[in-house]
């Protein structure tokens, strides 16, 4: 197995492997085809090392759009591997302001860490 050198590649690789056990192989194959990336767990493919950064990102974003939990997974993995979370995933819908208010005293405002 070749070393996964690019962070976005690592994230995409984890998603494609774990995603198959959650959604089934077909769903992931489909997401890969739409993004134009090779299926990363396939032994025939060369671990997608040639996949472009842009197409891997498309795969990751499309994965996140499956449901809100998938989005949470993508955001978590992106933070862990230092990948900037794509802007289109950062749109927030309704949140419960009173829950956040009750926690605001524990953290300080760090706008540069908000990433958008």
């Amino acid at each position: 197995m070749s070393e996964l050198s690019r962070p976005i590649h690592k994230v995409a690789d984890i998603l494609s492997r774990r995603g198959q056990t959650i959604y089934g192989r077909e769903v992931i194959v489909d997401l890969c085809a739409k993004a134009g990336v090779s299926l990363m767990d396939s032994f025939a493919a060369d671990m997608g090392e040639e996949d472009s950064e842009a197409s891997l990102l498309v795969f990751v974003v499309n994965y996140a759009k499956q449901n809100p939990a998938a989005k949470l997974t993508v955001m978590t993995l992106a933070r862990m591997h230092n990948v900037t979370i794509p802007k289109e995933l950062l749109e927030k819908r309704r949140i419960f302001a009173d829950i956040l208010d009750s926690l605001s005293e524990f953290t300080h405002e760090i706008t540069e860490r908000l990433r958008g």
Binding site: N67, P68, M75, R79, M80, I99, E105, F106, H108
Partner: protein, 413 residues
């Protein structure tokens, strides 16, 4: 350390790693070693145990074991460097040491030449320019002769950046000299906390709050302002607030620098500690659980959420987890006091982390699936607005397991 768990040599390469105690590490390691020896090949000279927050790498030599505790991914390039340092330690430094000598070794300062070798061979955590070095311990010849250029500048007031600016030597030279002095135990740093750090009080703070205690009298003589600030401050060291949040909440009464100085002084005294990587991850999962229940109260109803929570609590049989929930008729809360973890080793802490993740998973599993997508959506947004702003990528390690589990629950409705 010697076989059997007696530490012979201890050196920290990260000034911020305050909680790492050599006795704790060696005792803890002896425990894993006896277990590992059965699982791992007998002659393997190096093995690693990953506890999620920390990686323990163990080199077995002829008469000693060398344990390297690190954060993040292992850099394979350092393996050979560490091996040769270990060889040198065995063949040069402790070779002819008597038993009696070994028992009286000062593990934090002995073998200064070896320490210098380590500094030259390994790159340190980058010192931050805002840290303030100060001298500690008696000066000796080695200190003054080889570091004459910068020694006068180390006055406990200047930051590393200021020393580099004022010194004739180049920045790299200044940094390596400061690193060397620190490694030799000649200097320490203050102002090393950053705003993202979370601090918690220890039982030592009680002595400072008790009017009758001699420690308080002594402390007040040197730090009258800190004692004056203490009643306000002590409430804020709750193991949840960041240093930044503490500064903000007192900013109307005190200057930022006064608050930072007070926090520094209390860290030095041991009355407060910075949360270790394990404790940060425990805090994260506790807060994640609280948020999940609060969100469920809104999406379902408070009664339903309580029912789901009770179902989950019934499946987790660990007192350190279930015991922190205070459940009353109309309300509930989680006790965040970190003193619960005092004296627990990193392995136990990571066990507890796993139990918390289990509880969170059980809670999600108990939810009615008709509104699970709505719940996941609200939860993701809440985490994004709070957890992701507070915690680093490092803190989030392992949390993706919960997220995958939530995905499964969203799919298998």
């Amino acid at each position: 350390m010697e076989r059997g768990g007696i530490p012979l040599f201890f050196m920290k390469l990260d000034p911020k790693a305050q909680d790492l105690d050599p006795m704790l590490v060696s005792g803890f390691f002896t425990a894993i070693q006896s277990f590992s020896k059965e699982v791992i090949e007998k002659d393997s000279s190096m093995f690693q145990v990953d506890y999620g927050a920390r990686l323990f790498t163990v080199f077995s030599g002829d008469s000693t074991d060398f344990v390297v505790v690190s954060l993040g991914e292992w850099d394979s390039e350092v393996t050979s460097v560490l091996k040769s340092l270990h060889d040198e330690f065995e063949s040069v430094w402790i070779k002819n040491l008597s038993m009696k000598k070994k028992d009286t070794i000062k593990i934090n300062t002995e073998f200064p030449d070896f320490r210098e070798g380590i500094v030259q061979n390994l790159s340190f955590r980058k010192l931050s320019g805002s840290w303030v070095p100060y001298t500690s311990g008696p000066e000796d010849v080695r200190f003054t002769s080889s570091s004459g250029i910068i020694t006068p500048l180390i006055d406990g007031k200047r930051t590393i950046n200021e020393i580099a600016d004022e010194s004739d030597a180049g920045t790299d030279e200044v940094l390596s000299e400061i690193t060397r002095l620190w490694a030799l135990g000649k200097i320490k740093f203050s102002s090393i906390l950053s705003k993202e750090d979370i601090v918690a009080s220890t039982s030592k703070i009680d002595r400072l709050l008790q009017l009758s205690s001699p420690q308080r009298v002594e402390f007040e003589r040197k730090n009258p302002l800190v004692i004056k600030m203490l009643p306000r401050l002590s409430m804020l060291f709750d193991g949840r607030r960041t240093v930044g949040a503490i500064i903000e909440s007192l900013s109307e009464e005190y200057e930022d620098s006064q608050i930072i100085d007070a926090i520094d002084t209390l860290v030095e005294f041991g009355a407060i500690v910075v949360l270790s990587p394990e404790k940060r991850r425990l805090l994260l999962v506790k807060e994640a659980t609280e948020l999940a229940v609060r969100v469920a109260e809104k999406i379902y109803s408070p009664e339903d959420a309580m029912q789901f929570l009770n179902a989950a609590l019934n499946k987790v049989n660990v007192a350190e987890v279930t015991g922190v929930f205070r459940l009353a008729e109309q309300s509930w809360n989680i006790d965040y006091d970190t003193r619960l973890y005092e004296g627990l080793d990193p392995r136990r802490l990571m066990d507890l982390y796993a139990e918390w993740i289990k509880l969170l998973a059980q809670f999600v599993g108990a939810l009615d699936k008709d509104k699970i997508i709505k719940f996941a959506d609200a939860l993701t947004n809440t985490y994004q607005s709070y957890l992701f702003r507070r915690y680093s990528g490092h803190d989030l390690r392992g949390f993706e397991e919960f997220s995958f589990w939530l995905e499964i629950n969203c799919v298998r409705r």
